[in-house]
Symmetry: C2
Amino acid sequence: MTQEHLVLFTPSGKRGRFETGTPILTAARQLGVDLDSVCGGRGICSKCQITPGYGEFSKHGVTVAEGALSEWNSVEQRYKDKRGLIDGRRLGCQATVQGDIVIDVPPESQVHKQVVRKRAEVLDITLNPSTRIYYVEVEEPDMHNPSGDLERLVAALESQWQLRNVQADFSILPQMQPILRKGGWTVTCAVHHADAGSDPQIIHLWPGLYEGTIYGMAVDLGSTTIAAHLCDLRTGEVVASSGLMNPQIRFGEDLMSRVSYAMMNPGGDQEMTRAVRDGMDALFTQISAEAEIDKSLIMDAVFVCNPVMHHLFLGIDPFELGQAPFALATSNALRLFAHQLDINIHPSARAYILPCIAGHVGADAAAVALSEAPNRSEDLVLVVDVGTNAEILLGNRDKVLACSSPTGPAFEGAQISSGQRAAPGAIEKVEIDPVSKDPRFRVIGCELWSDEEGFWEAIKSSGITGICGSGIIEAIAEMRMAGILDPSGLIGSAEQTGTERCVLDGRTHSYVMYDGSAEGGPTITVTNPDIRAIQMAKAALYSGARLLMDKFGVDKVDRVVLAGAFGAHISPKHALVLGMIPDVPFDRVTSAGNAAGSGARIALIDTAQRAEIEQIVRQIEKIETAIEPRFQEHFVNASAIPNSDDPFTTLKSAVPLPDVNFNTGGGDSASSGRRRRRR
Amino acid sequence: MTQEHLVLFTPSGKRGRFETGTPILTAARQLGVDLDSVCGGRGICSKCQITPGYGEFSKHGVTVAEGALSEWNSVEQRYKDKRGLIDGRRLGCQATVQGDIVIDVPPESQVHKQVVRKRAEVLDITLNPSTRIYYVEVEEPDMHNPSGDLERLVAALESQWQLRNVQADFSILPQMQPILRKGGWTVTCAVHHADAGSDPQIIHLWPGLYEGTIYGMAVDLGSTTIAAHLCDLRTGEVVASSGLMNPQIRFGEDLMSRVSYAMMNPGGDQEMTRAVRDGMDALFTQISAEAEIDKSLIMDAVFVCNPVMHHLFLGIDPFELGQAPFALATSNALRLFAHQLDINIHPSARAYILPCIAGHVGADAAAVALSEAPNRSEDLVLVVDVGTNAEILLGNRDKVLACSSPTGPAFEGAQISSGQRAAPGAIEKVEIDPVSKDPRFRVIGCELWSDEEGFWEAIKSSGITGICGSGIIEAIAEMRMAGILDPSGLIGSAEQTGTERCVLDGRTHSYVMYDGSAEGGPTITVTNPDIRAIQMAKAALYSGARLLMDKFGVDKVDRVVLAGAFGAHISPKHALVLGMIPDVPFDRVTSAGNAAGSGARIALIDTAQRAEIEQIVRQIEKIETAIEPRFQEHFVNASAIPNSDDPFTTLKSAVPLPDVNFNTGGGDSASSGRRRRRR
């Protein structure tokens, strides 16, 4: 009997005993150690590189002698001479066990290397792409036992890679025979694994060993912008990212105006489908050019989007989404060919579209759920993706609820008298001195505050052009803290507030943030209609969240995650003063950045997460705000700043909220009406 | 407790006891009685019509009283008033059990009605098409429980028709929402079932109840002609049949010349693919026009063809089929979309291509195996499909062997001095008087023999233009029986044979069948090169069969089936005299007609038979004649008429085969060469 030796793998810690002469790759496979290989152990792909450790490993109770691995054989030596190997590295398929040995598997030799590490409560994401490459040696045809070339290729994938029931895309058939012969009956196959239950599909062939990589694209298709990340499917890394304006903007700025366009113009939905698909294809071309890769190497794409974009991208008239009961054509995830969406990448490239949660809660919200994983949270988390619509998720390990609330575009600076998109020259941060009631601010493109030395010089080129979404929120919150604004949303007069910056503006007052008239610039004021627009938007957001809390049976949450580009710029304190979100300590409000985009990338690089999000979405309890009687009540309460019903005691213990009231019986009737109803 | 009554169904004989008030359709379903329904028991489709029987059924021991079925209800009455019902018929979904009852299910109410009855040893073919239609009522969208319209449609198909994991073709999505609303949340779905293991796919929707039918096409794609049968997938009946010349003929008459064309002309394979696909699409259009049906109602198509046509139709260069080892790109059956083959029928129509058996034994041979089922035969059957190549199957319940043998085009009248295709004016039947050595014959287009009164008048318009494939076989066999031709294939001289019809023709003799010179017509002779051409063809055929017999370990077969158009015209006696087929009694040689086309139709109307033929083909033992050493030996022996080695004792006991020898030492050297080698 041959002698057996201990083989211990790090970092996994997996160990086993193997006979003398067992290749390290074989030992790894038998123990389930994650060690890569494309060529199937033939010493040509070098993906199975390992680092043997020698000497005393007291922690593991192993001592490794000099000759614990076999000498370099000719295959390994030839590889090293030709391609080079890092010092201390060996090829796992060639080096064999000769004594007790400790083997370290470096990250780049792991198939399922960890590529996205999220916060602790979120599942680690490992590399597990839908499309992978496999090198095989195929039996030559034999007249004594006739079978098709494809059938022998499929048999090779089964015997050499344990892939069962492999199918081939129809496009493989015309090219396969010359490729097999060119490669001398060796071939590298790109194989698509749609999901655990379906048969693997050969989608590309290269003669011999293909040493390059293949790519996938993760796309966040928004109403305004399309953002895409090109990922290397062999490493999981983002190779290039880019974005472009959604070309549908010419049919309407917001979703409902696009739905209207489709309703009013026969064929309008098809025009918009054409526009977004053309834009998408152009974006794929652009990113491929930037990354200097062959576009046809993109073999998978994942898309997330809101329901209206979802339908328009798929070529479905969004008509039904424009009216109750807001019926989606389909809510399930979709597995398609990219060419069905007119995207010209690899001809057999696949496309995956995440499931929609409900008629107003789309695949983008599903992607946020995948990325932020409220379903895995120990504490109760509220996740808010702020855009034209706010998608709101509330949950923990027990259950997750979701709704959408129509915040409108005010948070993006639209419908605001001096509002503008976030661009150089826009006021983005504001502080108001509670005594002098004078503001200081920062504008995009300059790190200095307006009262700091050099500010005016620094902003010379951009000027001060307006106020962006985060700027108006900070301005209003600061006005409330400085006693310039009362809880009902009325700006006080110069008399009431003690500052000449409060000026009469029609029947109400405005607060002058910046008077550029002397320099020929704009005068930037916060008007009472601006306050009203933000009140409507934040009340919609808060009342959606509050409704989910009702349904969950709680009146507080443990933490709040703000997702989306807007969420990244918003200040927790100001959001809380405004009463946009439920009352939590400032440090329990965090930003998740582009969580929808992250979710798309997760689904791209780890196919197992597709089943995961499909399962999560099925379990999410969907709440339709439009038909919930309490929504209106919450909305009215949430119109006050911060709220006329919820106490916001945590907030009030941290910041002053002067108890002012600028309603003198006349003035803004709607505002006084709200106050009457409150009693 | 409610009372139970006996319900007995005919013709199945199934019986069971059911409570008062059970609808007959429900009883049928519970007993597994084959009773159709499209509307799912709503009294609108009338597919579940049954005929109740009343009175004494002594055979079954049942007496049926007057009130054994419920009175006509309003649904049933409305149907009868509006659409009419045959006297005595009831709707099985409306009529309920009230007493012991005998129910006859007429053939048109059976889903799996038998549509093809073959010989007893062959499996009965029942209607089980890939694509079926289902009427469902779909739940309306509900904001309290949001889900996609598709998800509710799928749920309806599951709950109302027990279809699991239904998917929808991508093309369904854009049209579904308006159709569901137009039909008032009722819809008829065409659902494709690819095979037992795969998920059903919705491929078409009609609002409300669709009362029409859907179609499929069974196609035999030959080198020379394409023949297609349009079948009603609801009844299995052939609605229209048509054919056209394979447009590839302009690239080469036979297969090998087409393979050569592809080799010699870059892009030649694609030209031929284009040609055959254009022809196919034209044929589909033509048949649809003839049948006056909407082409887009064709939702399935089955194709059988030889390996070269298979590759060219699929867009695969047939290069490898032109040289050893004759490697097919793929031999397995293919499940495709018709549009992938550029056939413009229903946009989601499917296509099924039967598996190939080996590099020279194609999907057409597989179709013959499906139709003639040698694998189910108790006795040992040889099935021969005679064309430019002969595909040969030998087997019984134990095993089936297959090979192909290159017979060349002589059997089709090509390479014959007076040969022509089977067309009016061609001699198709021949008898030679053994005493006078004079022939009489029949020509295509006339039922009279040439020595019968009125013959010359009757053939005036066509004239006598040549001799077709079956004619030359009969002529040569008759010459052999009349002692004009010796076993080696030499025609005797006038002296040796005693007839002036044998004339010197170069170094050998010819037999003058008809001298039309007086009337300005052709002189039709059988020349020694004609004999040689037929000898080569029949030796190839026989030696292929003989090789399979060797492999099977037998030296006789029980019966012979001749498939193909040629097989339908060949006379068993003459085929045996020539030694084309192994020695069996004349009545054990039968013709199967277009067995390949029948196989295609079977696979079209009974999807279960697709798995069956895939299984059969996997089990067939493939023999490559080119590499079998004994093939050459059998070929040499089979060059003699009937054979220089096999005794043909059965044949010889039935017909005279004069023991003549016209070799005088000189003459045809190849022939004498063969004779020498025989010793």
